[in-house]
């Protein structure tokens, strides 16, 4: 310890104390459950809505899978929250009905299930802002048409509903005027 003066010891003591303070880690921190992943698709399953969100989610994911994408789909318990996610930009797309397309802002929608009631088709609604929204739109629009052709769409609907509603491809074409 030759040469270890009091003048050296004081800064060392301060250093140790500062480590001690830092060691009192917060027991509750924002990072405990990892970084929150951003949703790609918001969906909702509101009480009493009667929509088969499991089937709708499966159709959506199958269309993306056809184009090699596995987006994050978050089924929220409230329609209001899902709509908020789209309009606030928290999610670039929303599984919803025609009336869920926000009145203000720039959106486009692809109908992917004609609905069990007239005029209640299900859409994937996309923001027109941001690269991710554009990427998702292109993949979904193409992937959906492919699963309609290759029979994957039929299999999913039959699994959930027992049978495929008549003229489904025709109805969807009618709802999506851009399709060939």
């Amino acid at each position: 310890m030759k040469g270890f003066s009091i003048f050296r010891a004081i800064p060392l003591l301060f250093l140790l104390l500062s480590f001690a303070a830092g060691a009192t880690a917060p027991r509750i921190s924002a990072q405990m459950f990892g970084v929150e992943k951003k949703d790609d698709i918001a969906a909702y399953s509101s009480a009493g809505s009667g929509r088969d969100i499991d089937m709708l989610s499966e159709l959506v994911m199958a269309a993306f899978a056809e184009k090699g994408l596995v987006p994050i789909l978050d089924v929220m318990p409230s329609r209001q929250l899902a709509r908020y996610a789209l309009s606030s930009g928290d999610a670039p797309s929303l599984v919803g009905l025609q009336e869920d397309i926000p009145a203000r802002g720039n959106y486009r929608a692809v109908a992917f299930y004609p609905g069990d009631q007239e005029g209640k088709a299900d859409f994937l609604i996309f923001s027109r802002e941001g690269k991710r929204a554009e990427e998702l739109y292109r993949a979904f629009n193409a992937g959906l048409q492919e699963i309609l052709k290759n029979g994957k769409y039929r299999k999913i609907v039959e699994k959930h509903h027992g049978r495929l509603p008549q003229d489904i491809a025709l109805k969807l074409k009618g709802l999506n005027p851009g399709w060939k």
């Binding site: 509750i28 924002a30 459950f33 318990p77 409230s78 929250l81 908020y84 928290d90």
Partner: protein, 437 residues
């Protein structure tokens, strides 16, 4: 004739697990306690309430235990009448959580998301100026909610029916709307599914307040019930039966009423407090945005064990629970909690500068599952600093005064409950005014 009267008395007042002692033997005044007869009887005569049971105990002995009025049409109230104790379920479930805490199975500082992952990354709702579309924005919570936040109602989880109590508060109106959308049940009506199903949906909704920043009474105890199920691996009713009701010999406390006991359950009565008193029929009733059904304890799927308000009990059973707390965690040689944990629960302010104003007033703090009187300079006075208590929406209230070793229990079944603050508060005054030593 005397024999006949004796038989009638015995029939009307089934045997108690515990004798009723002369009030003077525990330092209470018989004459002063009898004034309570007049208070309750006048409320029955004026058709403000149909009936009630009042129990007052001191030093571990029941000194006053009387039924008044009717339990149902043509059926007098009995000492062993069963009541929907509603939010008086919350202290029961809080004790269950604290048992698991004592066993090292959870910590009060644990984020709830550790057990229910849907609670991770919570958001908090902030209302935007009137006319905004959307009307709110969501901001990240400053921290996760913890088990302690649930026990102290500082997790930001109100009841949906707060919207009825605070019609001018847009935050409560929005939370009501979100709860309706998500099918969040208060547990006060027949509810399908399990508490786990419902809590997962609740967890994905925004919080009404930043964690720890407001006393927001509501759904937290239902989440605690789910935590008990997850941590113990037992269904909530089974856990409560094995670890609290059976050891305390609370033989008449249930989540859903056994068919054999159905005739002992009080009806629910609707009152305008001015002489209009009607029995409420089975099924869901709406008082604005407050929904309830008198038949939830015996109809419906009976799969939803609400930790917030699902229990049915009697005055004597709840006395046993309250006496266990008063005895620092044990009753009749059976220990439910350690003394240190009871002190943490009932004698330690856990909400800092906030006040437990929902059923009380400023001057009341909150421990872990019960409100604690912190000073006597406010309108709601239960007789002592350190008195702890809670109440239920169908007009039930219990109060424990550790300093005077006194317990007061009032059980009625009347709606709406807001009329009853006055009656409860008068009863509390008369209870502590009967102390005569």
């Amino acid at each position: 004739m005397r024999k006949l009267l004796l038989l009638l008395f015995l029939f009307a007042n089934p045997a108690l697990a515990q004798d009723i002692v002369k009030p003077e033997s525990v330092g209470l005044s018989s004459a002063r306690l009898e004034r309570i007869d007049g208070l309750i009887e006048s409320h029955v005569e004026e058709k403000k309430i149909a009936g009630a049971v009042v129990l007052i105990a001191r030093h571990g002995k029941i000194a006053y235990f009387k039924p008044f009025g009717l339990a149902d049409i043509g059926r007098p109230m009995q000492r062993d009448t069963l009541f929907r104790i509603a939010s008086m379920t919350k202290p029961l479930v809080s004790v269950a959580v604290l048992q698991l805490y004592e066993q090292g199975k959870l910590l009060l500082s644990d984020p709830v998301a550790k057990y229910i992952p849907e609670f991770s990354h919570p958001k908090v709702i902030e209302m935007l100026p009137q006319g905004s579309d959307p009307p709110f924005k969501l901001v990240p919570a400053k921290r996760d909610i913890t088990i302690k936040d649930l026990l102290t109602h500082t997790a930001g989880l109100p009841y949906g029916f707060d919207a009825e109590w605070f019609p001018g508060d847009r935050l409560y109106q929005e939370m009501y709307s979100l709860y309706q959308d998500a099918g969040i049940s208060s547990g006060l009506y027949e509810t399908p599914g399990t508490i786990g199903d419902m809590v997962k949906r609740l967890a994905k909704l925004p919080l009404a307040r930043q964690p720890g920043e407001a006393f927001e009474y509501g759904m937290a105890a239902d989440v605690l019930g789910d935590v008990v199920e997850i941590v113990s691996g037992m269904r909530l009713d089974k856990y409560m039966q094995k670890n609290i009701f059976d050891p305390l010999k609370m033989k008449d406390t249930h989540f859903f009423i056994p068919d054999s006991e159905r005739a002992r359950l009080s009806a629910v009565w609707s009152t305008d407090w001015h002489g209009k008193l009607e029995k409420v029929s089975d099924g869901v009733h709406h008082e604005g945005k407050y929904e309830f059904s008198p038949s939830y304890p015996y109809k419906g799927p009976k799969t939803f064990f609400s930790g917030g308000c699902g229990a049915i009990s009697t005055a004597e059973d709840y006395f046993r629970f309250a006496q266990m707390l008063l005895n620092n965690g044990e009753l009749d040689g059976v220990r439910i909690l350690s003394r240190k944990t009871v002190e943490l629960m009932t004698a330690t302010n856990q909400i800092g500068d906030l006040y437990a104003t929902t059923l009380h007033d400023k001057g009341w703090k909150f421990g872990l599952g019960v409100a604690i009187q912190a000073d006597r300079s406010h309108y709601v006075d239960s007789g002592d600093v350190g008195a702890f208590e809670w109440a239920g929406i169908f007009s039930t209230r219990f109060s424990v005064d550790p300093k005077e070793q006194k317990i007061t229990i009032f059980l009625s079944q009347t709606t709406p409950f807001s009329h009853h603050f006055e009656l409860w508060d008068r009863l509390m005054v008369m209870s502590f005014a009967s102390i005569a030593d």
